[in-house]
């Protein structure tokens, strides 16, 4: 503790007769979902599976390393550290150890519980190190850290299905300090994909007159507003194909006048999800398709493990063969992915159509089949009823079924991928991504569990 105190004093410099603070750095992350597995990746020979097993842990370790290396003055975690239904206490112990590392580096952590944390019964008895301050759930509270000039206002989720507007009750601004609102919320307006927990509006947040709103719950990085700053950092590690692109945290730099100087994103993820849309229009055979996809594989950066969903589109003479030899095609693409040590072919989707216009008659078997299928499609409930009576439905685990109540086979519309980050601030610094790259490491150490006898 001595050196960290010393450090703070060194950072203050005397200007005229008043002590003026030097800049402060705060790391803001959310939705860690530690030990939540990466979903949708089926095993195949040559897939780099070991590297993906504990990806969320590796991302958290990257966060801790980044916080120490920068260094930052405080870490804010805006909820959902755990998965709601996750029962392994080891996860909590692991989180506690990581927070302990920050503690030994003199970095305080302020966190609120999110809906998942509230839902999780296992971690309730977990003791966290002294440097971690979990804000109360009963009422909003303010934690002041005069040493670094920070006031954190926040309230955690007492129960998982919290629908009150928490932000409305947050305390008034604390003068002379940098005011941060720490909140887990599905902000109103957009994000229909996420359930509306602790709903509030941008206006509610603006009304508090804070300098920065550190939000969590939405897994896509998003800067909602700059005056004041309202920021979702997104989750630290994508866990399925819908959570594609870079994932990480936000580092806020505040100058001596308590103004935000920059808001930078840092990559933390060890594995990444990418979609590769390949237009195969005009290609004649599967060999050409294969070599085109292989070319696209070449374009994927090698430095990080990447799970790729390949979608083939366009009118092609190979349409029929592609469907007929779909399994073989999948295997060949997996073999091709095997040439890239960090590539995992998550899925192959065929969205091609046939070149053969002469085949589209108004009579004949295919026409009749098409008609029958569209009749079936027009009555999805009828078909669902038919299919759901199938004994297979009873034995397939819920996890393997697609979300939102629709079965896999009749999902005709693509689920909208989550909105990409809409806009980046002026101070957005793309080069800072390198940091995350440097931190990315993929070899999880051997983990052991000694169970009680």
């Amino acid at each position: 503790m001595f050196w960290s105190l010393q450090f703070k004093i060194d950072r203050a410099s005397v200007v005229g007769f008043t002590i003026k603070r030097e800049s402060m750095k705060i790391l803001h992350a959310a939705d860690l979902h530690i030990d939540s597995p990466l979903r949708g990746l089926s095993r195949y020979e040559g897939a780099p599976e070991e590297d993906l097993r504990l990806a969320t842990r590796r991302a958290l370790e990257n966060l801790v390393r980044l916080a120490i290396e920068l260094p930052v003055d405080a870490v804010l975690l805006a909820g959902d550290v755990y998965d709601g239904d996750w029962k392994d206490y080891q996860t909590g112990l692991y989180f506690s150890r990581q927070m302990g590392i920050l503690g030994r580096a003199g970095i305080p952590v302020y966190m609120v519980s999110g809906n998942h944390d509230a839902q999780n019964r296992t971690m309730r008895t977990l003791k966290l190190p002294d440097n971690v301050r979990v804000l109360t759930t009963g009422n909003p509270e303010t934690v002041r850290n005069e040493k670094i000039g920070l006031a954190v206002h926040g309230q955690g989720f007492a129960q998982w299905d919290l629908t009150e507007n928490l932000a409305a009750g947050y305390p008034a601004r604390d003068g002379g300090l940098f005011n941060v609102g720490l909140l887990h919320t599905g902000l109103e307006g957009g994000h229909s994909d996420h359930k509306r927990y602790a709903p509030c509006t941008v206006a509610d947040l603006e009304a508090r007159d804070y300098d920065y709103w550190a939000l969590g719950h939405i897994h896509t990085q998003q800067i909602v507003r700059e005056e004041p700053w309202i920021v979702y950092p997104g989750n630290i590690q994508g866990r399925h194909a819908r959570e594609s692109g870079p994932k990480g945290c936000i580092v806020v730099t505040v100058d001596g006048d308590l103004r935000v100087r920059s808001v930078d994103h840092h990559d933390l993820d060890t594995a990444r999800w990418e979609r590769v849309d390949v237009d195969v229009t005009g290609l004649d055979d599967t060999d050409q398709v294969l070599s085109l996809v292989q070319q696209r594989f070449q374009e994927i950066p090698e430095e990080r493990l990447t799970a790729v969903r390949v979608t083939l589109r366009g009118r092609t003479a190979a349409h029929t063969v592609l469907w007929r030899e779909r399994e073989q095609m999948l295997n060949e693409l997996r073999a091709a992915a095997g040439y890239h040590p960090s590539l995992w072919l998550e899925k192959l989707k065929l969205r091609t159509s046939s070149e053969d216009t002469a085949g589209t008659g108004t009579t004949g078997l295919l026409t009749d089949l098409r008609r029958t299928l569209s009749a079936l499609g027009a009555d999805p409930d009828g078909l669902t009823t038919k299919l759901s009576r199938h004994p297979l439905i009873g034995v397939i685990p819920r996890r393997s079924r697609r979300s939102r109540g629709r079965t896999a086979s009749i999902r005709t519309t693509r689920h909208g991928s989550n909105a990409r980050p809409t806009r980046l601030s002026n101070s957005w610094n793309p080069s800072s991504r390198k940091h995350g790259d440097r931190n990315a490491h993929r070899t999880p150490g051997p983990s052991r569990l000694r169970r009680l006898r």
């Binding site: 097993r53 392994d88 080891q90």
Partner: protein, 1152 residues
Amino acid sequence: MTGMRIERLDLLAYGAFDDHSLDLKGPGVHLVHGPNEAGKSTTLSALDQLLYGIDHNTRYAFRHGNRTRLGARLSAADGVALEIIRQKRRKDALVDADGTPLTEEALVPFLGGVDRKTFTTEFALNSEELRSGGELLAAGEGDMAQLLAAARSGMRLNAVLKKIEERQRALYLRQGRNPRINAGLGRLKAVRQDLRDATLRPEQYQDAEQAVAEAEQRLEAVTVELKGRQRLRDNKRELREKLPALARYHALEQQIEEIRAQGPIATDDIREELPNLIKLHGEHEAVRSRDTQALKRVDEQLTEARKDDSLLQYAAVIEQLTRDVTAILDVARQHEDSSAEATRTRARAEARLRTVHTHATLTDENLYRVPPTLLKRGQELRDQGRKRHDDLDHARDAVKRWRDKREQADKKLSALPVLEDVSQLRNAHSAVPADLLTKLVDTETKEKKLDRRFRQARNRLDFPEMEPAEVLNLRLPEREEVSEAENAFRSLDQREHERAAELDRDQRQMAAHRRELARLVSDDAPPTHGELHALRAQRDELLTKFLGDPSGDVPLQEAVKRADNTVDLMLRHAEQVNQRANLEREIADLEAVIPDHQAAIEILLAERETARRSWEELWEAWPTATPESAQASRVLVDFDKLKSDAHELQDIRIDLDEQRERLDAHTARLRQLLRLNDDDPQITASTAHASARLAEMMEMVGGRLREHEAVATDRTAAQHDLATAESELAEAESIVARVQEAVTVHDERWQRFLGDAGLPADRDLDTALADLESLLGVAADVESAAEAENIVNRSGQRMSEFSQLMENTLRTCDRSVPASISGWQQAVDTLAQDLQDQREDAQQRAGLLKNKSELAAAVAEADAELTGLRSRLEGFYARLGVSSLAELEATAARATELREKYTALANVRQTLPEGQELALIRQQAEQTSVQELGAKLDDLDEEICELEASKADWLERRTERRQMLEGLDGGGDAASAAADVAQICAELAEDAEEYLRLETARIAILACMEEYRTSDQEPVLARASEVFGELSRGRYVGLELSDDERPSIRAKSSTGALLAPQDLSEGTSDQLYLALRLATLERHAVAGDGLPIAVDDIFMTFDEQRTEAALRVLDGMADRFQVIVFTHHEYVIRSAAKELPEGRCHVHQLPD
């Protein structure tokens, strides 16, 4: 509304076909016949390729590649017709007869809504499909839905359904273990168990913490108790160890008391000093007696010693004489040698002086005392003089040599010829291009080659000798005109052929009819009226005779039979009469038709003549015989080649002429410059000659130019030599003058040198120097003689001094003086020996005296010591109250013993505690014994052992529990297991997705099949009943459905029995399937989608009668669908010709 027909199919360039057309216009059935490999399947495949596009990867492009083409004339039911050409390419694949591109939409009015798949599966049928259709009937027990689907889709739905179900089974079985999903579920169960095992509950963690705390508490308690016991044991052990020491301590104390009781005890100083005093006393006594005896022996030796010291006072002089005598004898020898040497040297010097100055003596010192530097100066002058004279000789030689060289160069230059101007010649030479000749030769070769090709082309066309220009002027018929005329010829040929064929056919048919008529005429005659009457009478008689009589039954029956036979015979005759009438009518028809055919053939021959004439006119300008129409295309191609050759030949000849002109121009110019005009003025036309002349000319000019170059080079070299010689001569002459001057200066310096040396002026260089060296030798000899004389004087003086000293000494010592020098040595030696003897005696005496005084001092000292010692012992006696030395020694012995006891006591005290503690321990020791202590210690050891074991146990448990707790360090085993679960779920999701996709497909197909059944069942069943009846030639009268929930088909036999398909024969089930297929097709006719039906050898399992029946059925459909039957069986052709009505059977023979 379509009812499309392919009126004509042109296999323009398709498979092995070239321009082969099939005329499919006629009504009824078209049979395409050819043996296997004749292109039957090629033709069959051409149908869909024509209508829907040629496959990119078609196997029928092996010959024509991208030029593969099909053509056709299509017509629709409403009479609209379209000529199309289908090409194998992506762009403009479909064009009309003029080559104008058509879109695929253009075919829609003809194709209706039928796509390629539907066309190739529903409108085409081959024997294998038919057989598998038959099998399906049997296997599916006639399931109507299945059958209708199979019939409508050409079998595939069922196969697809099978495949789907097969794949579904590979994915999932309700009770299975091996299918993918079942296996995945099994793995999932295992991994989930792993996850449960790896999951740590908070209570488990708290239990682990508590277990550690408990272990720590227990360990603490055991440790405390153990420590108390160990302390107690240590005390007991200590006591046991101290017991012997305590006993010894007590014994020593008693012994000390005893010693003290024995008598006086010497004090420490007496005890320590006493042994030393006794020892010193003894030693002094011994020394005193030994020294007294030695003193007596010395006195005796002194009285015996000799005494004579006379020479000792002259010792210094005698020693000097002894030292000098040898040196003086050497000096005496040197004295004699030096005086002889001085005399010899002077004589030699004088003789040398006289060799230079004949009459001089050594007294004339100025003659030979010359300075030694003069010799060096003389040597330098001599060397200089030699070099100067050599230089002069060299310089003079050089002058002479260069003078000669200049004269030679001058002569050589004047001998060379004068140069002339050759610049024009050089320009003309370089103006001739280097490759002129090779180009000319190339062009000429090319011209010859082209000429040969041109002639060959001309000969190939049988043309007379013609120049290229003439050929180019020939005007021939246009290609279009030729092909038009060719087409006309072909059309004539075809018409002629057709007419002739018709004539032939009709004639053969007439002959056949006539033969048949003849057979009918020659048959048995019909029964006459008489015969009939007789028969009737016989019957009546029998009836009357045997009415009611059973015995008449047999003859009556025979009679009835006979009557019946007669009636049959009559009926047959009636039919024959009818046939004959028909035949006669047909023969009459044919007889009327045949002259028409003949007339038509005549007209065609006349047309052919007219065509022939216009063909001849077309080729009027043709220089040889008019080509055959079949040859025309080739001739035109050959002529085109000839024309292009003629063009090329013309061009190359122009090039050749131009190159020859250039060659001649260059030759003329060179001739003019070489001034050869007069010799060979005319220009020759021969290229070879011209080339040779130019080459020769070029060679001459080259020679001339090389010659000129050589002369110019020679002149330049000669001029250069002359200039060099002149300048070198001038240089050499100036060197001679310089050297001459240096020689004069040197001569003057030499004269001056001779003067300085006192030598005559005429002495040459070497003599003068030899003289000078002699003079210097004389001076050196004189010097050395003087030196020797000096030495003689000095040695004489030293000898007299020594002689004087020796004589004085000898006389003083009363010795005789020797007479000559030779006695000196011995006299001196004797004297020295005597002196030495006297010295040694004196030394011995002094030693003895010194020894005597020392011994006397030692005796006195020993006496004094003995007195001191005795007085100290007296003191000791007085202090201890003893009277003798023995008593004194006894007190000392007791003191020593006492001292030892005290030391031992002190040692024992060291192992024991001090003060109060010692008192305590002595007290404890008194109260216990070794045995008692041993027993107590054993008990304690046992207790401690138990406690230690308990401690170790708890220690181990604590370590274990701590490790266990530390092991709960946030490990990721459960997370890894969850990752495994997620992976398996992903696999299951994929497989389930596939399974459900297949299931959906299966549902759709079944729905589709059911839909077919509901919509098609009634009309198709009705139509199929008819067709099946026809196909089975009345053995079956129709089809019915079973009453099942999923109705199946039953064949109704003429006897009224209902047979399930599996009970039908193979051929019959094939027929039943065919009936269903054909009945289903009617649906298309109703919808207006009637496209041509192509059947490929479907009669494999049919006998002749069934084949005929099938052909009739097909003919019955032929007005709604165009029917094309592919076969390689002759009997099918025969059956068709026999069975189908006139004009409704068209046979198309494919070429072998």
